[in-house]
């Protein structure tokens, strides 16, 4: 060893050297159980962040090697090759090659393989080997392979592939210690393993060559399964059936909605009550004034109005992750691709769009499943048109106040019908906008729809829970940063300057929000909005449902529980039906949510897209409200 010679002249004590963590990266095909393996290795010692400048998630965890050295483990996005076709795959390639600034190349690369489906991952392993980093192949899900009677000559495969192989079962934590041991051994391995990193983008011919090599390895050391998985085929016969498949998909989606809306309700009520109580306590503790207002109306109310969506987000992601884990998500994308494709969207866009029914923020976060940048941007742009749950309080208030409680055809309620109509308008609007974007602005730039349909498998509850927990954590972090700052800004606009002593009217009238509201009133007058409605739109930017409270403020209806009924009566008295309908139409399309714009800024890394979103949604909202107001007025509802 030349360690002594290499030690720098200023001779730092050697003690910390053994503590330098080993850097290990997990690479694998999608559906290889890579993340489950990462979870099994690291347990709860992991953190999720973002790579600088991009929106790709960076999952890092800690493991301890048998010799006590810490191992820093990175879970890289799933890929079929090192050719970067999406921002996620680019991260995988750059991380493996050591091209990411501030992140040295990993000491060891672990290529995670689904033992029952080796063909493509062997090609990836060969590609990784060519890069010249010490690599290990983890044969995950080996239990399923054994159950199928698939015989893998591990020794031979290892010899011919030129890398150690460890069999693992991530869900049962089998082979984990052996894998960690192999990481250490590989890192300490001969320096000759570490050839200078060489990688160039493979041509079609190179891919064919690698594939042939992989095929040869497969033939030489893996037998055909004696008891192949017939369940996946049988399930697909039903789940991908042109009729039964669609019926089941709709049933699954319906169940998901029910769970998101009704299942989350009790907890949401509890959170609201908790924040209301906290507000009351603070109001008692602090003297009235700007500080009390900031804490109660700005911070507590603002954070509360975002946190209240946590239960919905948890339930939604529970469904998404469960369906993903089981293998159904890819099937749903298959079934919906034609419909989504008709609007110029990718089959996978249905996941983010569906999420947007709960809240556009997780929906926009979920667009990461779409590889192509344009497909992804289109989906982000239309996601806020899906009727999020924050619109529900606004819709409920206006519908209850203006739409008669009447049955249509004996069974359907007119109120319910209007409610459904608003949902449908948002959905059709989203598809129409996506279609317009793809046919007018980005003509003919669609991503190929090419997707592996993984074998069905039982979900791993621990893995599902951990992933749901991570989603919740990410949402909370957003709520704590961008969203909170937006809330405080809007509170500031709605509160400052304060109302002069003895002045008439509500305080908000004298604030910046009031000034803005009055300033935009002439612009909004043609769509039937009074100045009170215009003013309420400004604090309503905090979150759509805040508009309810804002209307309460401008109409000087005292807040608190049970005021909705009084507010409704007051609105019914002051607004025309045409104005109310125009207000609903406005809320279907308007970008009345600063947090969404903030998340779009984060996800796209530019102010351009939130600006585009704000402008187009405002234009749509204005047009829709204009048409609705004048049509309704002409029909005598003015």
């Amino acid at each position: 060893m030349t360690a002594v010679e290499l030690a720098p002249a200023k001779a730092r004590p050697l003690a910390p050297a053994p503590l330098a963590p080993l850097r290990v990266a997990l690479v694998g095909n999608p559906n290889s159980g890579k993340t489950a393996l990462f979870n099994a290795l690291t347990g709860s010692r992991q953190k999720v962040a973002n790579y600088a400048g991009v929106t790709v998630e960076r999952k890092e965890g800690r493991v301890v090697a048998p010799d006590g050295r810490p191992i820093s483990l990175i879970d890289l996005p799933g890929t079929y090759s090192l050719r970067a076709r999406s921002p996620d795959e680019k991260i995988t390639r750059d991380a493996v090659l050591g091209l990411i600034e501030g992140e040295p190349a990993p000491d060891v690369v672990v290529c995670v393989a689904d033992a029952t489906n080796l063909r493509l991952v062997l090609r990836l392993a060969l590609e990784l080997k060519a890069v010249g980093r010490p690599a290990i192949l983890a044969l995950n899900m080996i239990d399923i392979a054994q159950r199928q009677g698939l015989e893998i000559d591990v020794e031979r495969l290892s010899r011919e592939l030129g890398m150690p192989i460890v069999a693992t079962v991530a869900t049962r934590r089998r082979g984990i210690e052996a894998l960690v041991g192999a990481m250490q051994a590989r890192a300490d391995g001969a320096a000759s393993d570490r050839q200078p990193g060489g990688w160039r983008e493979p041509s079609a011919g190179d891919i064919r060559d690698l594939h042939r090599q992989a095929e040869r390895l497969l033939k030489a050391s893996v037998s055909l399964p004696k008891r192949p998985d017939t369940w996946t085929g049988r399930l697909d016969d039903v789940l991908l059936h042109p009729v039964a498949g669609i019926v089941i998909l709709l049933a699954v989606l319906f169940l998901m909605f029910q769970a998101v809306f009704t299942g989350a309700k009790p907890i949401m009520d509890l959170i609201t009550a908790g924040f209301d109580a906290a507000g009351v306590v603070v109001r008692h503790l602090l003297p009235p004034g700007i500080l009390q207002s900031l804490i109660c109306d700005g911070i507590i109310a603002g954070v509360g109005s975002v946190l209240v969506f946590l239960p919905q987000i948890v339930i939604l992601f529970l469904f998404i992750i469960l369906l993903e884990d089981v293998g159904y998500m890819a099937r749903a994308a298959f079934l919906l691709d034609k419909i989504m494709g008709g609007a110029g969207l990718h089959g996978r866009a249905f996941i983010p769009l569906l999420s947007s029914f709960a809240c556009a923020i997780p929906g926009i976060m979920a667009t990461r499943v779409i590889d192509n940048r344009r497909d992804r941007l289109t989906t982000i742009l239309v996601a806020p048109l899906m009727t999020c749950s924050a619109r529900i309080p606004v819709y409920t208030l206006i519908i209850a106040a203006f739409i008669p409680r009447r049955a249509v055809w004996g069974v359907l309620s007119l109120q319910g019908l209007v409610f459904f109509g608003l949902y449908a308008t948002g959905l059709v609007g989203a598809l129409a906008v996506a279609w317009a974007v793809r046919t007018i602005f980005w003509r003919g730039a669609s991503e190929p729809f090419l997707m592996e349909l993984p074998a069905y498998k039982a979900p791993d509850p621990l893995n599902v829970l951990r992933n749901v927990g991570q989603r919740a954590q990410i949402f909370l972090r957003r709520a704590g940063t961008i969203i909170l700052s937006m809330m405080i800004l809007i509170w500031f606009l709605s509160t400052v300057p304060g109302k002069p002593a003895g002045a008439p009217g509500p305080a908000i009238d004298y604030s910046f929000a009031g000034m803005i509201g009055h300033a935009i009133e002439p612009i909004l007058a043609p769509i039937g909005f009074s100045w009170q409605m215009s003013v309420a739109l400004i604090p309503g930017m905090a979150a759509r449902e805040v508009a309810v409270g804002a209307l309460g403020t401008v109409y000087a209806v005292s807040g608190g529980e049970g005021s909705a009924g009084i507010l409704g009566a007051s609105l019914a008295h002051q607004w025309s039906l045409a104005s109310a309908l125009a207000f609903l139409a406005w809320y279907v399309f308007a970008p009345q949510c600063a947090s969404t714009l903030g998340v779009v800024k984060r996800e796209t890394n530019s102010w351009l897209w939130p600006t585009v979103m704000f402008v187009y949604m405002t234009a749509l909202a204005y047009a829709a409200a204009f048409i609705v107001f004048h049509t309704a007025a002409a029909m005598g509802a003015g």
């Binding site: 079929y80 493509l120 891919i207 298959f334 034609k338 090419l450």
Partner: protein, 95 residues
């Protein structure tokens, strides 16, 4: 010309129940020209659509029979017919 061109057909035109093997993967530009031909070809190759692979069309979408779900060797892959245009297949002759 030795090989009969009539033997080769595009996977895009096959119906459910088709069983055969891949004879060639061509660098065809996707329908709307978004991806240069070579890129679509490489993506198909990476997904396992390589010469010699066995394909069987298992399922078809409910609108216009699109997309299709194929068994590709021992994997299942979904793709749009438009993207399958460059995959040329040959019907398996009876063994």
């Amino acid at each position: 010309m030795n090989r009969s061109v009539n033997d080769l057909r595009s996977l895009a035109d096959q119906r459910r129940g088709f069983i055969g093997s891949i004879a060639a993967v061509e660098a065809q530009t996707s329908r709307d020209g978004a991806l240069a031909g070579g890129e679509l070809e490489r993506r198909l190759l990476e997904m396992g659509f390589v010469e010699g692979a066995r394909v069987e069309i298992l399922h078809e979408g409910f609108i216009a029979r699109d997309p299709i779900c194929v068994r590709l060797d021992d994997m299942r892959v979904a793709l749009r017919r438009a993207d399958a245009r460059g995959v040329l297949v040959r019907v398996d002759s009876a063994p």
